[in-house]
């Protein structure tokens, strides 16, 4: 392929690399060599390789990371900036009778205290608005914030939240998702049922499939709650200015979505809110929704000063989203050769106290639950339920890793019981070109078999395990 750059001095990628990487010519901070104008956009012909493929690329932010010069939120400070801390409930389910902030407010260095009742619209969430910014009447899980303090130092803010007295009236709580599905279980967000989203996928006739099967296998699989643990905790700086506009420097991964949620809770138009997304020190799905942003904005409004909030590692675990624990019941009917005739799956997702991204996770888990296998008779039903635990939300894969663990373990069980090689049973059942997924999608560019065979060859599957 010929690419005519039509530039007066064409850029030679090799020399550009040299100029950037050669230590002797480096002046810090580095400046990218000037690009001659006009820049022509190169559009390669269809099915021709782009010039970028095969070239060595370095990360544009790699050098700053190595130098320690990358500015994460906690590396930024403004004149007069205050530090905020949030008091966590510590009880899983309770009615808030009284919040006494007077001792905290009297402390020298404490500039403002905020409770849930002062938040204009105290609910948010990416799909259901079921989550309070700070709990005002009810505590739904132990990590709920109940009050916040802005003080001149972090230490004073920490001391001040200890002095806030909250009186609770304990309420019954439910922690097991299967128990939560029962009629008599305590309602987390009463009076509604704890089951807040369901999904069913049907194809063929599984019952007839099981009747026609040579063998039927059943097993339950469970996965646990997982926290993302990004190395950088959630952090935000809020600055409410005298014009009534608020700027938030935040670790939010989805700033436009977050801005809509912030606008709702502050009851102000989005055009008065500016969210600056900076370099994020690890997201993994855990920074896709707002956490303390409205609290910091309101503390900044109260004090007239910028307010920074950085979660402690403990807060990361107890009050931010986690990966859904799954309870997965699998029932699979196969013929004598191990070909799957029918599969029934029941998924129960522990949603924790709030919906967050549970609907998305539920949908993806359902679609992927039967696995990448040709099955004519499929029935998948799934429920996501409220419990009085840390809420679950987006985390890499949106439910895919959980069901993958289950259906692949199940395949191994079947292979072992029938005395078939685990690779062979997968090759017999795997999707091929033109296969139809349980939701009716016709699949193209399917390389499951090729990938399995290549992987088996590379790590010596046929030779056996040591």
């Amino acid at each position: 392929m010929t690419v005519d750059t039509k530039l007066e001095t064409p850029i030679d990628a090799q020399s550009l690399n040299q100029a950037v990487l050669e230590p002797a010519t480096l002046r810090l901070p580095a400046v990218i060599p000037p690009v001659p104008f006009p820049i022509e956009t190169l559009v390669p012909d269809t099915r021709q390789q782009t010039p970028a493929v095969g070239q060595r690329a370095t990360r544009p932010d790699g050098r700053l990371h190595g130098l320690g010069q990358t500015k994460y939120i906690d590396d930024i400070a403004f004149p007069g900036m205050l530090h905020a801390k949030i008091k966590r409930a510590g009880v899983a389910s309770a009615r808030i009778v009284r919040v006494d902030t007077s001792a905290a407010e009297a402390m020298p260095g404490v500039m403002a205290v905020l409770t849930g009742r002062e938040i204009p619209v105290n609910s948010f969430g990416p799909s259901f608005q079921d989550q309070p910014v700070l709990a005002d009447e009810r505590v739904f899980h132990a990590g709920d914030g109940v009050a916040a303090v802005a003080a001149v130092t972090e230490q004073i803010a920490l001391d001040a939240i200890d002095k806030i007295k909250v009186e609770y009236e304990p309420l019954p709580a439910v922690f097991d998702p299967v128990e939560a599905m029962q009629e008599r279980a305590p309602r987390v967000h009463g009076p509604n049922s704890n089951i807040y989203a369901t999904k069913v996928i049907k194809r063929g006739d599984p019952d007839r499939g099981f009747a026609a099967s040579a063998h039927v296998f059943e097993r339950q699989f469970r996965t646990q709650m997982v926290e993302h643990v990004p190395l950088e905790p959630h952090a935000t700086i809020a600055d409410w200015d005298a014009n009534g506009r608020v700027t938030l420097w935040s670790t939010l991964g989805r700033i436009t979505l977050g801005r809509t949620d912030i606008a709702r809770t502050l009851k102000m138009p989005v055009n008065r809110i500016r969210v600056v997304g900076t370099i994020v020190g690890g997201n993994f799905g855990g920074k896709n929704e707002i956490t303390q942003e409205p609290v910091l904005a309101l503390l900044s409004k109260k004090t007239g000063r910028p307010v920074k909030g950085v979660f402690s590692r403990r807060e990361e675990f107890i009050s931010t989203t986690t990966r859904h624990p799954f309870i997965m019941d699998y029932k699979t009917g196969v013929d004598k050769e191990g070909r799957i005739i029918a599969r029934k799956v029941r998924l129960v997702l522990d949603g924790g106290a709030y919906c967050s991204w549970s609907e998305t996770t539920l949908g993806k888990a359902c679609i992927l639950a039967p696995g990448p296998y040709n099955i004519d008779n499929v029935h998948v039903e799934a429920f996501v339920v409220y419990t009085n635990k840390t809420m679950t939300g987006a985390m890499r894969g949106f439910g895919a890793p959980q069901v993958c663990f289950a259906y692949e373990s199940h395949m191994d069980d079947i292979a072992a019981a029938l005395g078939i090689d685990p690779l062979e049973i997968r090759l017999r059942n795997a999707f091929g070109e033109g296969s139809i997924s349980p939701t009716g999608q016709v699949l193209h560019s399917v390389v499951v078999r090729d990938s399995l065979l290549k992987a088996a060859e590379r790590f010596g599957w046929r030779e056996g395990r040591p």
Partner: protein
């Protein structure tokens, strides 16, 4: 409040600190050296790793007062105005960092290792990085970058091998 004096990246610095102030807080908030990060504040993650008298330490576990009179080296002290430290260069070439939050700590741990052991095995590198958690990379490229630096030093050349094309 007490007064502490220490050498930081070759310069003598003095500060007045409250007794509970950690070395990390002193470096970040009073000396404005924000390269070392606060990840967990309990010594688990290693994002705050700096060198004190030639040894890698978790700055969040050391009080500022304990570092008084000692020689502290942070990530900001590695590069000169003209030149990256070989480790920083190798980490850049290998794209060994992704979100980068753990990077300064990892590089300081690696430097402490190479200062003591110029030819470490993969196991020794893994051991040296055991106190530095990274959630993005899986460590493979970090280990390769550290090996590269060790090799080029032992070959007597300060220059690292030019990046190869990705295959």
């Amino acid at each position: 409040m007490s007064s502490v004096t220490m050498k930081v990246n070759g310069e003598t610095r003095t500060a007045t600190v409250a007794p509970e102030t950690t070395l990390l807080k002193l470096l970040r908030e009073q000396f404005n050296l924000t390269g070392a990060k606060l990840g967990c504040d309990v010594g688990d993650c290693g994002a705050c790793t700096v060198m004190v008298d030639g040894q890698a330490v978790n700055a969040c576990l050391m009080l500022a007062d304990q570092a008084s009179g000692r020689d502290v080296l942070t990530i900001e002290g590695l590069a000169t105005r003209d030149r990256l430290h070989p480790l920083q260069q190798a980490f850049e070439v290998h794209a060994a960092l992704q979100c980068g939050f753990c990077g300064p700590g990892v590089i300081m741990s690696a430097k402490a290792l190479l200062d003591e052991n110029p030819d470490p095995s993969v196991q020794e590198i893994n051991d040296a990085l055991a106190g530095n958690l990274c959630r993005c990379t899986g460590y493979t490229k970090m280990v390769a970058a550290i090996q590269d630096v060790a090799r080029s030093r032992n070959a007597g050349s300060a220059k690292l091998p030019a990046p190869r094309n990705v295959r």
